[in-house]
Amino acid sequence: MTFTVRTYGPDDTPRKGFFTDTSICIGCKACEVACKEWNQIPQSMRGFTGKSYDNTVDLGANTWRHVAFIEQRKEMTFADGLVEHAALEQIAADTGLQTYQEGDGLRWLMASDVCKHCTHAACLDVCPTGALFRTEFDTVVVQEDICNGCGYCIPACPFGVLDQRQDDGRVWKCTLCYDRLKDDLTPACAQACPTQSIQFGELGDLRNRAEQRLAQLTEAGAEKAQLYLADEDDGVGGAHAFFLLLDEPEVYGLPPDPVDATRNLATTWTSAAVAAVGLGVALAAAVFGGRR
């Protein structure tokens, strides 16, 4: 069941998006650089964080792509190491999936994160000015000439993607290169990705490709490999940027079961209405309660 409302008529286009296959990300950050260059995003110096190779830290007003680096160490004996090494060599040769390195038990996970462009986008729902809108590609974009920096979208986003730019007061996020899409170009990050970890295309195609890749990795023994946000039945109706992860989402700093708050809006408004009526009754009781 999909709730997508198609309003663009003859100008409508197929749903476009990203499939980020983190199993082949090499952590080069070309996506971060290409995004900054193309979109002319101000610098976002965080200094040396000590968090592996990650000095970007998170998504925000001035970081629309963020490569996460996770170093996982696995306990193993020397004999385990030899056996594992041989098995991993074989997997690497067969599938191109290299995880634990050279039998030393260290696994380095890398993943390029981005705005998810949710099918049911809480940021768009709560935006009071209409600055956030749904494009003809079904992506979600902030209009910089409309946004008045009310900040409502920031805590509404279940992924912590949006943030306010300090010196300008407005909210900024990934546009999925709306300007490039209009000219039939690939978004800057996907264009720059040297391993095709970031793939851009029509959502249906991407999902098929992702399913195949997941089956391949699962068969090769990547136990926790999973698709993230590829399911239309999840809490945000599936996303236009979805991921193949090698571990649980929270390991990458992603929420395991994100939900668009609008799903519970009926309860919220009902409670507000009941409370308003209750307040009216209380006021009447206070005024008339003493005049029996």
Binding site: N148, Y152, G253, N264, A276, A282
Partner: protein, 310 residues
Amino acid sequence: MSSVADGAGDSYYGQPIIKQPVWTPEIPAYFFFGGLAGASAGLAYLSGEGPLARRAWATALAGAGVSAPLLIADLGVPSRFLHMLRMVKVTSPMSVGTWILTGFAAATTGATAHALTGRMPRTGAVCRPAAALLGLPLSTYTGALIAQTSVPVWHEARRHLPVVFAAGAALSAGGAATVLTAPEHAAAARRLVVMGAVAELCAVLAMEQHLGELGEPYGVGAAGTFKRAADVLVTAGAVTVAAWGRRSRGAAIAGAGAVLAGAACERFSIFRAGFQSAADPKYVVGPQRARLAVRRSAAAQAAAGRRSSA
């Protein structure tokens, strides 16, 4: 929800998963003044004529007058405040609230002008009930506004927050009217203080019971300090007003002043708790993990059921 601890294990260097709001203290201040104004208009309308009604109308107008500048000051681009009126959007409590506040401010201006001068009877006849009616949702939509986010202590409290805000609004309106009105005319205001105090303390307790472990942020840090201050001020203030408010103007002012401060503290407690729960990934991940576990075990049971029946 005994699930918060489950989320503590895995996180990305302890980084928050959702962003903390960028809202400044103007926002909880508005929660207080907006509720004060909304409930004061209702109190004024129902009281009809007389000293209490006149003072409550003035309070409502002052509250509305303070509210709009507070909200505009909090915007990232204050000069664009009129962009708020580009559309009406039911999925955005902020949009709905903007229209409620706009209508309320207009109606309250007319109603107060009539109440204080006695002129413009027709304007008064329209504006008085309109302001009183709009004041009710004005007092509760703010609870819906923060509930309609991904912040765990707000979203999971979506049934309770509007009730807490309504109770706080009643308490504030009663408190302000008790301070401003001579005791012989303020019986209704004192009753409102006592009812509002009991309602607010109960509503907050019910909210915390409902949230369980997830509600931890309400009790710690700045949120906890504000909450403890609110509990003491509201309880002591309401008892003072109930016991001595009728006989002593001084006691009435002291008690009602404490109640007003307590109602404001409760707004700040709720506001800060949202930041604290957004800052720690365990409050975001824990409940989501628990939801997933329930769904997966249900799916596994269904699969097992199919196998055994086959």
